[in-house]
Symmetry: C2
Subunit: 372 residues, 2 copies
């Protein structure tokens, strides 16, 4: 991997290839919480390992905002021998979220009612809607019960929602670095939305595939990146160093005279992250998943936290990350405590890491050690 | 003040009127650290109180990013009887920064070499350059020595720079909520710059006065606002409440179908802050001051911290703010300690506040109590 900012020096872990990767088309309509419906939506999914005869070895992994069904590619170390999942003993399923751009129905899909891509008319598909759709896919695979459902960030939102919506179907859940978004998290998403909307190429969401709002999506990703990482990590890695490509922040460079100077290293890093992202993600899909994240509130529709969390039968484990400021560890701990007090079994443990929210992806080996 | 988000319930403190407000035109050229020069730049300034016969009662207040020379308008409570400054005993001077848009020479000023406004060609005027220019203004007023120089944020950068550049001219300095920007601070400025540059109205900095990059400047301000405030304050004030004007985040509103929903209250608050700001600030001026902030490193040009900070003769007091994450209190404390170890007299105290970086403006009475 030729990546100027892959400074860890470690070779990237091997990708685990899925046993099968394919599409499930839901038979009929998926009613949505917002009042709309998706007609025969597609869920793109991947499986790893084999379902046993008793059909009791299924594990569902739920991916984070920009993830895909290929959990073996973005979370390979949890499959390491003796780690969280076993290719020998488990049947691991991962399903691309509705609204995403990695194979499941999303804003880029054709709306059968109009014959045109949904674009900005793609409806709000909530975390709960996603869980309902996922349960239909598991039905089709003959899986009644999950040994484990797990995920970080919006993946953790789905994992918890599974235990509330389908209490009889989940044995354990592992929920990493997540609570309902706090005001600061909602603020960060509000900024990211504007970054995309302000790009003239966005065109109210009706952009041409060959002319997407690249600068807006890049800025949105960069805003997100500062919330995924931590100030200590940035200080250690980038500090006040000038950009490693040689720009001098103390002199004016480029086209704009004195107002825009050469970058510091952190600026080069963020630009690099933005550039990488626009080659692999779609702006409308990004907006769709931001909204699912914004609107997730597990007690919405119930009369009380007790009524919502009292439904849970699974054993829950929560993980907070010490330097996470998007989903602060203290709030994850408090969230687990609230759920415990509502009568569910919930424990909490904390991951010490400088990596901020991103630690569950950036420090997989440390996460595995914590979970063992 | 009709302000939906002025939730404190307190009536805004009275503005203090200056004794005099006017322009000082520097005689000749101001050479800049970047190698360029400003020809006969204007410094707009305001004074409060009267200079005594001994000329030993002068105090210089340095303003923060979007401040002006009218310190009596944005920091009135430090003039309260028994507070930090006395209208009876002190002669208080406040000078608009070069690069700003409140009367001093900036990107909106005419470049005498071209007869056109500088626009994006306005050179980098560093914090140190500003201090050099300010010293000429004080010379013109016959002020050799300052009883006190003080400021928060980039105002604190100027205050400290004064004690290094003109050690014999400063008796005391009060430096609030500031260190050289950390990597996270540089990152936040990098994001804000892009927000402005991406606005098509910015036009590479050559926008028409009647068509400024309003949306870009608004987003930049909103990014800044999250760094000026704190997560606890946002949770307490806005939480996950829907926007107070009645939008519903759970349904799609407006023109964009499902991808952009009704706002949460924090979104409404940030939009409101952005709107207020674009009516009072200029985008190029904003960029100019971001660069001055980015590039401030008080030991730059010296062989060691000891050489830079060893020059200081003033008594320094540093204030960190407990919930400031733009300039974290622990870093302000460490900065004060570094300066102390270099041989200067520096003490440190901490302001307990939920307001984050903004506390020195938002909780002036508490700041005054801390300083008494």
């Amino acid at each position: 991997m030729a990546d100027a900012f892959n400074s860890s020096g470690a070779s990237p872990p091997k990708t685990i290839e899925p046993t099968y990767e394919g599409d499930f088309v839901l038979d009929g309509s998926l009613p949505l919480e917002c009042g709309h419906a998706l007609i025969c939506p597609t869920l793109h999914y991947a499986v790893y390992g084999r379902l046993n005869a008793a059909r009791d070895n299924a594990v569902l992994v739920c991916h984070a905002l920009s993830g895909s069904a290929l959990v073996g590619s973005w979370w390979p170390e949890i499959f390491a021998p003796g780690a969280v999942l076993s290719l020998e003993h488990d049947f691991v399923i991962c399903i691309n979220m509705l609204g995403s751009c990695y194979g499941s129905t999303g804003p880029g899909s054709v709306n059968s009612e109009t014959g045109e891509p949904y674009g900005p008319d793609f409806p709000l598909v909530s975390v709960r809607d996603n869980v309902r759709a996922q349960s239909k896919l598991l039905d089709s695979l003959g899986i009644r019960r999950l040994r484990l459902v797990l995920g970080g960030s919006i993946g953790g939102m789905q994992a918890l929602e599974w235990t509330i919506l389908h209490p009889e179907r989940v044995e354990r859940a592992l929920i990493i670095g997540v609570t309902p978004l706090s005001a600061m998290g909602l603020a960060l998403n509000h900024l990211q939305r504007q970054a995309i909307e302000h790009d003239p190429e966005w065109a109210g969401g009706r952009y041409l595939p060959q002319r997407p709002p690249r600068r807006g999506l890049s800025l949105a990703r960069q805003i997100a990146m500062i919330s995924y990482k931590s100030a200590p990590l940035f200080n250690e890695r980038y500090g006040r160093n000038p950009d490693r490509s040689g720009e001098d922040p103390y002199v004016a460079e480029g086209a704009y005279g004195g107002l825009i100077g050469g970058r510091f290293d952190i600026g080069g890093y963020l630009d690099h992250q933005g550039k990488r992202f626009i080659d692999r993600f779609d702006a409308n899909a990004y907006l769709a998943i931001l909204r699912a994240m914004d609107t997730w509130d597990p007690i919405r529709g119930y009369s009380s936290p007790e009524e919502a969390f009292g439904r849970i039968r699974a054993k829950l484990s929560f993980v907070g990350i010490s330097t996470d400021w998007l989903f602060p560890a203290a709030e994850v701990r408090q969230f687990a405590e609230t759920i415990r007090q509502a009568g569910a079994h919930a424990d909490y443990r904390e991951m010490e890491s400088d990596h901020g929210h991103d630690a569950f992806l950036a420090e997989q080996a440390a996460l595995v050690r914590l979970l063992q």
